[in-house]
């Protein structure tokens, strides 16, 4: 996935969350976005996900300019898979129905095909025993794995993950990170906002450090963690790596 931003700006009221971002990133398979809370990581991901319209500026993905009218955004959102922090699943639908909904309603699968696709993915994630459970009957880790299953069932161009483990305890975090690592290993493009520096470093091949609404530093993940250049990143890593 190759991302380019040009003068990308977004404000909420007086607060600038994306501050005139202009950069052409190299092609990368797995991009990790790190940075302090409130620095604009999530807004950046949401803009790429087509869930947020920038106030001005442009965004291209794989050389294709993203247009921000309703129809284009809808088609864009259908072509990618997005997973949020928590509460991704619809509580009135079972795990299986949650996966079927986008397949049948947004991607034109017929019911038998959709069931087949959904069941094979649940099986792959070893969740087949939970297909008929409602989200409330599942653990946080299971819910998040089903949300990931729902996101990849539609065969997305790439996967966007917004702090997918921040609402989970360490054990569940591990089970979710395992799956993400697995997806990354099989060459699926993904962009991940995360607080797990270790995971960002090992799983991602490219890394963005976002703070104060700007991409302060970017580069191959190994380089970024081994020799941070900017003072902000040095301070940030110093703070988060302390414990």
């Amino acid at each position: 996935m190759q991302l380019s931003f040009k003068n990308l700006t977004k404000s909420y009221g007086p607060r600038r969350v994306l501050d005139d971002i202009s950069i052409d990133l190299p092609d990368a398979h797995a991009i990790a976005v790190i940075g302090p809370s409130g620095g604009g990581k999530t807004t950046l991901l949401r803009t790429i996900a087509g869930l947020e319209r920038p106030d001005c500026g442009q965004l291209s993905i794989d050389g294709e300019l993203l247009r921000f009218d309703d129809t284009s955004l809808l088609l864009h959102r259908r072509s990618i898979g997005t997973v949020f922090q928590a509460f991704n699943l619809f509580p009135h639908l079972t795990a299986l129905e949650n996966i079927l909904l986008p397949l049948e309603q947004a991607h034109g699968y017929r019911h038998p095909e959709a069931v087949e696709a959904a069941e094979s993915i649940l099986k792959r994630f070893q969740l087949e025993g939970h297909a008929d459970k409602k989200p409330a009957q599942l653990s946080g880790g299971q819910q998040q794995r089903i949300a990931i299953a729902r996101a990849i069932a539609i065969k997305p161009r790439f996967l966007l993950l917004d702090e997918p483990t921040s609402a989970l305890d360490p054990e569940m975090t591990a089970e979710v990170l395992d799956i993400i690592g697995e997806l990354q290993d099989e060459g699926r493009d993904l962009l991940l906002v995360t607080h797990h520096m270790g995971f960002a470093r090992t799983a991602a091949d490219y890394c963005l450090f976002v703070a104060d609404g700007r991409i302060v530093e970017n580069g191959p993940a190994d380089r970024l963690f081994a020799e941070p250049k900017s003072k902000e990143l040095q301070q940030f890593l110093g703070r988060v790596m302390r414990y």
Partner: protein, 264 residues
């Protein structure tokens, strides 16, 4: 004595329903106590009961009860349509629609149904040349209930969290699909109890249509009272008749509530 107490004492913290026997004992006790209270009150009354006179008009009661049933059913269906429309209009991106909805809800909820019926029948319906009092009655009742229902529906829609709307957008549902597959199924389950409460009110409110001479249950009871001068004998069956309509509704709502129960 300890046994008696434990039979009617329910421990809510374990969440399970109390045993059937305890429930029957408790319910019967309450029923007996209340019956005894009313029995005592009516006995004090020194009232010359004359059920015979009223019994002669049983057909009239039945006919009025059926009219109330039909009017309520019609108004109920119509009010659902009206309320869904105004609940959505309230959230519309079109500002005039939003204000229309706001104005409708505030005016209807803020004024007495009695006045609304009179104005609608003698002014509005007259002006547009509609003279069928049943049609006007049903429409007024539906508009009245619709204002309350639409607020219930709006609150239900708003109770579906922002994160779910976000998820719906992220998986590529259109606005319409989001309403159909994500919002409405959850709204229906959440608003069932207040909705049925409102339906029961609607049935009772239909009694006010008697002032424009719609021949429904209450008007017929009033007429029987006028013919026989047996006030209590005319109005007690009225209460029972309304209970026969409202009780099944609330039992049905309990049943649905159980059926659709899930944690959020």
């Amino acid at each position: 004595m300890g046994n008696m107490l434990s039979a009617i004492w329910s421990q809510p913290e374990d969440g399970s329903a109390p045993p059937l026997f305890s429930r029957i004992v408790a319910f019967t006790t309450v029923l007996l106590l209340i019956s005894a209270l009313f029995w005592f009150a009516f006995n004090q009354l020194q009232y010359g009961w004359n059920w015979g006179a009223v019994w002669q008009y049983r057909q009239k009661f039945l006919q009025g009860w059926l009219t109330t049933l039909l009017i309520s059913a019609a108004a109920l269906c119509l009010s659902l349509l009206i309320s869904v429309f105004f609940a959505l209009a309230r959230r519309s991106r079109l500002l005039p629609l939003r204000y229309l909805s706001l104005l409708y809800i505030e005016v209807v909820r803020g004024t007495p149904l009695l006045v609304q019926i009179l104005v609608f029948f003698y002014v509005v319906a007259d002006a547009v040349g509609v003279s069928n009092r049943y049609a006007v009655g049903i429409l007024t009742l539906a508009l009245f209930a619709g204002a309350y229902l639409s607020e219930i529906i709006r609150a239900g829609i708003e109770s579906v969290g922002e994160s779910q709307l976000e998820s719906a957008a992220a998986i590529g549902l259109t606005r319409l699909q989001t309403y159909r597959f994500v919002i409405f199924p959850q709204v229906v389950r959440r608003i069932l109890p207040p909705l049925t409460g409102q339906f029961a009110s609607l049935i009772k409110d239909s009694s006010l249509l008697s002032i424009i001479a719609v021949s429904e249950f209450t008007l017929n009871a009033q007429e029987v009272n006028a013919f026989t001068f047996s006030t209590l004998e005319s109005y007690l069956p009225l209460a029972v008749g309304y209970l026969l309509l409202t009780l099944p509704i609330s039992l049905f709502s309990r049943y649905l509530e159980q059926k659709y129960r899930y944690a959020t």
